[in-house]
Symmetry: C3
Subunit: 269 residues, 3 copies
């Protein structure tokens, strides 16, 4: 039982006890599943994207989730408004560069967000993370073309350059703040057959950021907890429709004690 | 077995027999779950928000549902166009002031809608309803901070002021037209762990408004029927992923006879 | 076992092996369920609608799905941009005229798309298809008022006029290229109680178009495969919440061999 396994249980308990409001500016595809993910684990989600209200809404929140899937111009404006307000109020932000690398709009927006807003965590698959610095890296839609471990070196460079934590998800997740690297081993392959799993993982990071001052620990423990929920779901079913249902059941049912025993990390330097 | 229990079964039967078209201008988070709610209970949902088509669409409908979650300027315009057309054609309207009190955009829009459009029913949690008149009442995201019963007095005042029925939902629901008060006791706490339950309840009121000329009766019986579906779901499961599935199953399976026996109301003056 | 049953299995295998990227510009209600449908069957969905990125996104895709549910002006622009780019690059397009006939915006847009973009397949219910040519045909929301077989003659006329395949879905599906007619018998009535089933069928046609050069065969086999998934789901449950879950399970589980044995067609001239 590592310090991070212990911390996963503590973060889960803190979310359940304090029910932090997590403000999401996210894509249309996953709004419902993201809200259900946050509710099932005990957090309090709100979705709001109007430029007229995002600053006021994020002021009430414990954390902000920015996600560029199904992007359009108004939403970019809203993300910058909300992001700047959160930065000013020291409200932690997690960013999900969905599909960055696939189109110029997404790549340019992702790079602009990471360079102009003070983000605590960025979570993406390997190709999305690589696209943040390398114009030759191109994602295939929103699917990853590289393993998270292959992207570890680049992730460290980006983390140092932008003073943020980078979380690269895949069969093994890599989380780094530019000096430390944590590997997270929880998860299940069936997660690839349900939409919005990456976006949900990002939202769980958002919930943990609201209760954990260390972004590296918040990101790593959130991914372990979410991956463990995937494992619990896969113990119940081997088909994707039932898997999504069982994942929500697991997010609600997993105890802090289970996190302490079953979340699996490797710490490095 | 009260007159309202009897009426719940009659309204359900009337929906199943006539399959009323319910026009929803609602938020992105719940569009899918709201459509599935209406389909499961036998109604015919349509979602349409373009300013170019909402008047034509609502003209075909048996009722109109307005919901300000994930609000933006174009949608406000569409809500007023559809609302005014429905008013002109005597098509009943139910309004859900999601998150009113959390931001000025939502509070101002909610107050403008309730004062300028002739609404048959307004459904919200206690803090949303209180925010319609009291600028010091502030919701925490879309979660209620007060019980429905605490808001009963204010709800009666609003109902009289705007000649509408106010439905305040919570562990016990309060429905009032400003003179009469009905309490609805059906429901289950697991509904708090699934997104869009309030919005779905509003849509069910929309379906019942299409077949019941008395908005007080339509709102109270809709909330009892929807709450009963929650109770039936909770008999099958105690976890939120499965609960949403079982709730849709229950909306489809509950009979008029079950409504007559199991819907629980208290009538007052 | 007909040639089309054999082809259904081949198309399914080709999708699983090549994981084609299917670009969807579709409505808010079904984005999540459509993405899950495509993932469960082994395809790779992407949703993107910004005018700034649709041309670039569709360039990466194996097929394009255009769907006019929850239409607005920006989306129409995006559909034309993506459609013209796909046409130029010989990427096959399937079009779903959701609600055409219900409002002028939808009818006019649907007619403009079918006349100005080179579509490989158009899928709708009978009233939607009839509305493409007959201004007196009016849909009731998005529900069909006519059987697919009644629309067969009109479908053939439209198919010839626009050099496209028309797929009219209903209890029996009719697929025609203007000379040949195929009837597809798979499906289950519970599909009427879950939202987005028509839209999901259209997306499955999109996935098959990416691997099958013959649009008539792609459309007919996709509808048979999707209908078979509905039958498999109905073997597991008789209520709509569980049905949607089981449908996704079936889309993932059905083998090419099952398609060869259980997909049922009638070929005509």
């Amino acid at each position: 039982m590592s310090a991070l396994s212990e911390k996963t249980g503590e973060n889960l308990t803190a979310v359940i006890d304090s029910k932090p409001l997590v403000h999401n500016i996210t894509n249309y595809v996953v709004m419902n599943s993201t809200a259900n993910t946050l509710l099932a684990m005990g957090a309090s989600p709100v979705m709001a994207h109007a430029v007229e209200e995002v600053e006021e809404m994020v002021s009430l929140a414990g954390s902000l989730v920015l996600n560029i899937g199904t992007l359009s111009e108004d939403w970019i404006t809203a993300m910058f408004k909300a992001g700047k307000k959160a930065e000013e109020m020291k409200i932690p932000i997690v960013f999900d560069p969905v599909g960055s690398g696939a189109t110029s709009l997404r790549t340019d927006t992702a790079r602009k967000i990471i360079s102009e807003i003070d983000l605590q965590v960025v979570r993406g698959n390997a190709s999305e993370i690589l696209s943040l610095v390398d114009s030759d890296s191109r994602t295939r839609g929103v699917d990853s073309i590289d393993s998270a471990e292959d992207a570890a070196g680049t992730a460290m460079t980006i983390a140092r350059q932008y003073s943020t934590v980078i979380a690269v998800t895949g069969p093994v997740d890599i989380v780094t703040d530019g000096s430390r690297i944590v590997k997270v081993f929880n998860g299940d392959p069936l997660m690839n057959y349900v939409t919005g799993m990456g976006c949900a993982a990002t939202a769980v990071i958002g919930a943990f950021l609201a209760v954990d001052d260390d972004p590296l620990s918040a990101a790593a423990t959130a991914l372990a907890f979410f991956g463990l929920a995937g494992e619990k779901a896969a113990e119940k079913t081997s088909v994707p429709g039932s898997f999504m249902v069982e994942l929500l059941n697991a997010l609600y049912s997993i105890t802090a004690e289970a996190c302490r025993i079953e979340c699996r990390f490797a710490d490095g330097d």
